[in-house]
């Protein structure tokens, strides 16, 4: 038998998925499905859009209107889908490379417009699909196949970046902290306006190996130890020293793009 969640929201004939053993992406995909279930969305009215990457394979497994686009462009395609048919709940799945390297511009502009898209960034700090090159979120000093002597770039904090560009909802959690992750995704789906959840993932195959981070479990343990909840960090800053902060970075209400557009249409009718 299958998990009812899987039966309801996945294309069972496409499973098991192709991701490596212990790849965090599966955990995120399952959290998204559960969040969609909790949100009570009509499958026919959900559209999942991705670019290209390991993460971007997710839509192929999920039983909605799914759109696997070109590398980096998911948000641009999604903007067209959403504006053309605001009835659709549009969820964008994108890797850290997809979203913040080649797709960085679409991210900041979608955020700026506050268009009602929900973006889930599968951030494994590496280009998984192409075999382990450093990405814009690879930590300084870490290795990638194109950073054999250690990365000299500074990494983006994608959640901060989205928030800085105008996202009205931006949150971060890890595949270890899967309860929170699911909660934020649910909140993001419910949010009207541009929302992004950075799901910190693990890529044992490339990131793990290149950087001697051990097994998938070792990497999950590292997430457990390295991230601290924003509320705790605020209350007990000493607990947050040297750690990454997760939580809801922004959550505010501002006019949403497709609604504003509909108002223009209404005004012209009147």
């Amino acid at each position: 038998m299958n998990n009812p969640l899987v039966e309801n929201y996945f294309r069972v004939d496409k499973l098991p998925h192709i991701w490596c053993p212990g790849c965090g992406h599966g955990i995120i995909m399952s959290a998204i499905a559960r969040a969609i279930e909790k949100s009570g969305l009509d499958k026919d009215k959900v559209c999942i859009v991705s670019g290209i990457g390991c993460s971007s394979r997710a839509p192929g497994y999920m039983d909605f209107n799914t759109l696997h686009t070109t590398h980096g462009r998911a948000l641009a395609f999604a903007t067209g889908v959403k504006l053309a048919n605001p009835e659709l709940e549009v969820i964008v799945i994108a890797g850290d490379g997809d979203l913040s390297a080649i797709g960085g511009n679409h991210l900041i502009h979608a955020a700026r417009r506050n268009i009602n898209l929900t973006t889930i960034c599968f951030n494994n700090n590496i280009y998984g699909m192409t075999g382990g090159q450093y990405s814009p979120t690879t930590a300084t000093g870490d290795k990638g196949t194109t950073a054999p002597y250690g990365n000299i770039d500074r990494p983006f904090d994608i959640t901060q970046l989205a928030a800085g560009a105008g996202a009205t909802y931006a949150a971060k959690a890890t595949v270890y902290h899967v309860n929170q992750l699911q909660k934020y995704i649910e909140a993001a789906i419910g949010h009207k306006g541009f929302s992004m959840v950075e799901a910190v993932s693990v890529c044992p195959t490339y990131y793990g190996r290149k950087n001697k981070k051990g097994s998938a479990v070792d990497m999950m343990n590292w997430l457990k130890d390295s991230f601290v909840d924003m509320k705790i960090a605020e209350k007990m800053p000493e607990k947050a020293v040297g750690k990454f902060v997760m939580g809801e970075y922004v959550n505010k209400v501002e006019p949403e793009y497709t609604e504003l557009y509909d108002q223009v249409i209404e005004r012209l009718k009147g």
Partner: protein
């Protein structure tokens, strides 16, 4: 066996068969032969069965891919199911003895050898199964000289693993000799 070897090595992702293919080709080059090595990329590379192909010849090699291999080799069942059957009728099939041969294989020689077991038990590290494989293949075909093979192996392996790999190679020769 004609003096052109068209070999396909297959197994699962981490078993080092691509490295084995490269080593064999490099050995051939040390012997002044021509060699070419190709492999299949693709999503299968992640997880599923993987394959490496090697052509060794005294002539220039024009077409770079193995079409009808005169030798196929598999370390896992999945790989065997996928990659060994199209061996030429005059050819050789070598598989690990844990494998059940798919039906209908026609080949001149078929060897089932305890390669993985030998790696695990005799040498002590499953990871050297690929080197045992090389010993088996060269032991059976003499397609490259033992000196060149050894030199090629030594040039590719991590420092400090020389003895281990030597052991594996000898084990491979042994298995080959026993089955001749």
């Amino acid at each position: 066996m004609s003096d052109q070897l068209e070999l396909r090595l297959s197994g699962s992702g981490g078993q080092g068969l691509i490295t084995a293919g490269i080593i064999l080709a490099e050995a051939a080059i040390r012997d002044q032969k021509n060699a070419i090595q190709t492999q299949s990329y693709g999503p299968e590379a992640r997880g599923g069965a993987s394959k490496a192909e090697v052509i060794i010849s005294n002539e220039a090699i024009d077409f770079p891919k193995v079409t009808i291999p005169n030798m196929t080799f598999a370390l896992t069942q999945v790989a065997a199911n996928k990659y060994i059957s199209d061996v030429s009728e005059e050819g050789t099939v070598i598989v690990d003895d844990s494998i059940e041969l798919p039906e209908g294989i026609v080949a001149k020689h078929i060897y089932k050898l305890p390669i993985i077991e030998a790696a695990r038990n005799d040498v002590g590290k499953e990871i050297v199964a690929n080197i045992i494989a090389l010993g088996v293949i060269v032991g059976l075909t003499k397609i490259v000289t033992e000196e060149s093979l050894e030199a090629a192996i030594m040039a590719r392996i991590p420092k400090g693993t020389e003895t281990l790999n030597q052991m594996a190679l000898q084990k491979g020769y042994e298995l080959a000799n026993q089955s001749k």
